[in-house]
């Protein structure tokens, strides 16, 4: 196997709310650049990170760029595994209906449109974390 073909499991862990700090936006910028490297990519949204995915963000009043539409482009970058922690959503009184609907097209299933967001418990997320080679936290 040549050096170029190494595939590692990358997990991006998002634990911060958007706009109060820049981590959410700059994390997304890494994900988009990273997509070109053809690694096995997953995203996790835990704690206040789940707030990044809320529907209906409108930043006109704070004069900051609204980057939430970018999450909908992740499917085009072939990002298929977006894990949202169940306990974090519940603690915030949110359900999946409060979040954007993120999809990807499954090339192994005749390009059927599928949900990218997977609701997982903390323990399930723990199992996923253990399988990763590289964890980038923001």
């Amino acid at each position: 196997m040549s050096d170029e073909q190494v595939t590692k499991k990358f997990l991006y862990v998002n634990r911060k709310a958007p706009y109060g700090t820049i981590y959410a936006l700059e994390s997304l910028e890494v994900v988009l650049i990273g997509a070109a490297f053809e690694q096995d990519v997953s995203l996790a949204f835990i704690g206040d990170g789940v707030y990044q995915l809320t529907k209906g963000q409108d930043t006109k009043g704070i004069g900051v760029k609204n980057f939430s539409p970018t999450y909908r482009a992740l499917g085009e970058y072939d990002i298929q595994k977006i894990y949202v922690e169940k306990e974090s959503l519940e603690a915030r009184g949110l359900t999946l209906d409060d979040l954007q609907h993120l999809v990807y097209e499954d090339e192994d299933d005749d390009w059927a449109e599928k949900d990218a967001i997977k609701l997982v418990s903390a323990k399930e997320l723990g199992e996923i974390m253990e399988q990763q080679d590289v964890v980038l936290s923001f």
Binding site: K16, A17, P18, Y19, G20, T21, G47, D48, Y51, T54, K55, G56, Q57, D58, T59, K60, G61, I62, V64, N66, S68, A91, R92, G93, L94
Partner: protein
């Protein structure tokens, strides 16, 4: 008159809100800004804390920050929304301002 307290952090990642509400006297006001506005939502783990505070304090939330975060609906009854002009008015209507950073 009395004091205006501002809280700018999510209650999940700071004890700023709970500490503020413990100290703030009856009749004082609390303004939620930045990530602090998440505490204005119904259904969070911190709703009871906010409901309790509303019994003897005024609680405000900065509307532009709620809108940016997509959480302007489903707010706890009794919380009043203000824009930046309203924020300025709150600071002049009170004797002093304390930020809970």
């Amino acid at each position: 008159m009395s004091m205006l307290h501002t809280v700018n952090k999510s209650p999940f990642n700071s004890d700023g809100l709970s500490s503020c509400l413990q100290c703030a006297l009856a009749g004082s006001s609390v303004l939620l800004i930045e990530d602090g506005v998440y505490a204005a939502r119904r259904g969070t783990q911190y709703e009871a804390l906010v409901q309790e505070a509303l019994k003897d304090k005024k609680i405000y939330a900065l509307q532009p920050d709620l809108e940016a975060r997509g959480v302007k609906s489903n707010l706890i009854d009794g919380i009043e929304l203000v824009d930046y002009a309203g924020f300025v008015d709150l600071t002049t209507d009170h004797d002093s301002v304390q930020a809970w950073l």
